[in-house]
Amino acid sequence: MRSFYSFVKVTFVIFSFGFVINSCIIDEFKVGEIDSINMENDWGMDIVSPLFTGEFEFKDLIFDDDSFNIEGSEKISILKFPDNRTLQIPSRIVFEPSTVIDSMDFLIKGNYTLHSIRLKYEVENGCPFPFNFQMRFYSAEDPTKSYDPILPPSFESADFAEEKFIPVVSEQFVNLSEEQSRKFTESNRIEISTWFDQSDLINYQDTFLSDYPVKISMLLFGEIKKNANN
């Protein structure tokens, strides 16, 4: 009988402790689940960051390779290099898009996505024509598949004063669509093309310096959010 009471007491104590221990873990989250805890769905932070910079010359932004053909009687322009060397080029290539970077690996992937992206371009253009700068993202899965290009309005041409072209600084903003924003982190390749807008100048000036300077600075404004897939 005495051993039966002992058995009952031990059983009671063990159940009591079991109850207490169980109470301890009926919390909203379990320690074992911490690995799978993410940021809250609405979390986001607004950031600004420099993206690209570069200091180029006129000649850099009109060729996509060294070979070009002058066709028949088409208009010719002359590029004058700092060493007084000259090069005849068809005038049209100044105004045709040149793929200056064909394939830039742009791997900024992470456990986040970018939203509401706004790009700010600041260009100091020392060339005599308005300047255009275009980025196009390519699919990471299908290298031949590209998405809508990101193209701001053209940047002002240099001012002509005292027998030379004075660089002009102009700013442009581009608000990306959600689709374009998504490509920022999903794509892994960017193609960059540049060209100049045609103006009357081409009709009465045939010689241009190869080293007109162009400074480009791009800033990215956007909201970082958690990646829904993580």
Binding site: E28, L51, L219
Partner: protein, 480 residues
Amino acid sequence: MRIIRRRTFIIILISTCIYVFKSYAQTAGALYLLPENYYSQILNPAFTGGNDSTIYVAIPVLGGGTFGNSGNFKFSDLLRKQDNGEMAVDIEYFYNLGNTKTKLTDWSAITLIYLRLPLRKGKLNFYIKDNLFATGQFKTEAIDFFNNGNYQEKYRSYNTEEGSFNGAIYREFAVGYTTKLSKRLSFGINGKVLFGMLQADLREWNYGIETSDSGDAVLLTAAGKGNLSLPFDLEIYDGRIHNVLAENIFERYLGSYQNPGLAFDVGLSYVIDELSRFALSVSDLGGIWFRHKAYNIDQNSSYDFRGFDLTNSLDNDQSGNFVDSRVIISNAKENIRNVYRPEADTSEYFMGLRPKAVLNYQYDLTDWMTLGVTNQTVFFHKNVFNSFSVSSKQKFRGFTFFENINLNKIHTVSVGGGLQWQGKFLQVFFATDNFLALYHPADQKTFTMSLGMCFLFNNQPNGRRGSFLEYLPFYERKRK
């Protein structure tokens, strides 16, 4: 008059402890009212407890231990339930709590083996215990960045400053002896051989982000120093830690005996009169010599990110300075990563434990009820952390119920307690300093929980109710 002065002195002393010193949750004070409890015997080696012939044996898993958490925030302030029912980190809510500094201390002590044997006129103690402690603090400005970003002008610059982390995991093998020096005074001492498994001490850690007015430059900075010892290999390139190869974690944890240390605990227990007793213990006096995979680490890096510079990366670049754009991006990313990779030098260093002093006074109100006060003080770096508790215990057959009111500084008051059951062959206990933590620990800023089970051998049956008094004044007077 002398009694009034003594009481005034005690009140001033207690008030000083409560008001002046910092605090974090310590073992439930009521455990110091249970000298027969095997876990209390680890806390104060002077506790003789039980009958002279009783043998205590605790084994891994059943030996239990203590877990303590103390911070100036609740986990539920950071991890919150979302509309879809999932738990998620809610930085905005946490940031809006308005703390300027975030502090957290966690610690645990797991009893793997406990053995107490009668030996001559005393008792021989042996135990193996795994210990963990970790204290971290950082300015909430660090979270500020993750909440606000750097877009708005007022949030362009951040500096975490004063960030620190100190933590260690170590195993202790203790051998000790408890004996009565006189009818009133008991003394106990434990000598401990320690083995450090993991240690990190990061001081003055400072991460900064400074954004230029126009946003065209972001200066990333990281600075700090400290020590680090892990049972894992580190991937170190150019003197910087790139990765921690945390493989076979459990096996490495069990097999880490390359960082030795020594420490000891001492305790005194004094019977004031037939109703009251006083106990004192000082534990963890010693340290560990970290010499295996131990490093001095230093961080003083910065990178001024001004965008990916494509000047020499155009496909038709003929200047001879062409740099592939993927190299430009890869280098920039590597420079950013390097800001956050500390430099590491192999080293050897000494880590002191966190010594703890405990004062306990108890008074038997009746045969079955005892009141007590306990003050626990931990010394860590130049800080003193204090926890004061008022406790009571009631005995009913094999059960002992106990309660404690704890003051971790004056603004953090918690009510806890627990119970112990002791039969002829078994002793089981549970104690907490915060009852609310039983239901929802994540909703409490501070709490400790202790529990465990111990086998008793050669234990005399409980033949009478009430406690045995070790001091018997009647017989003493008779002898005179």
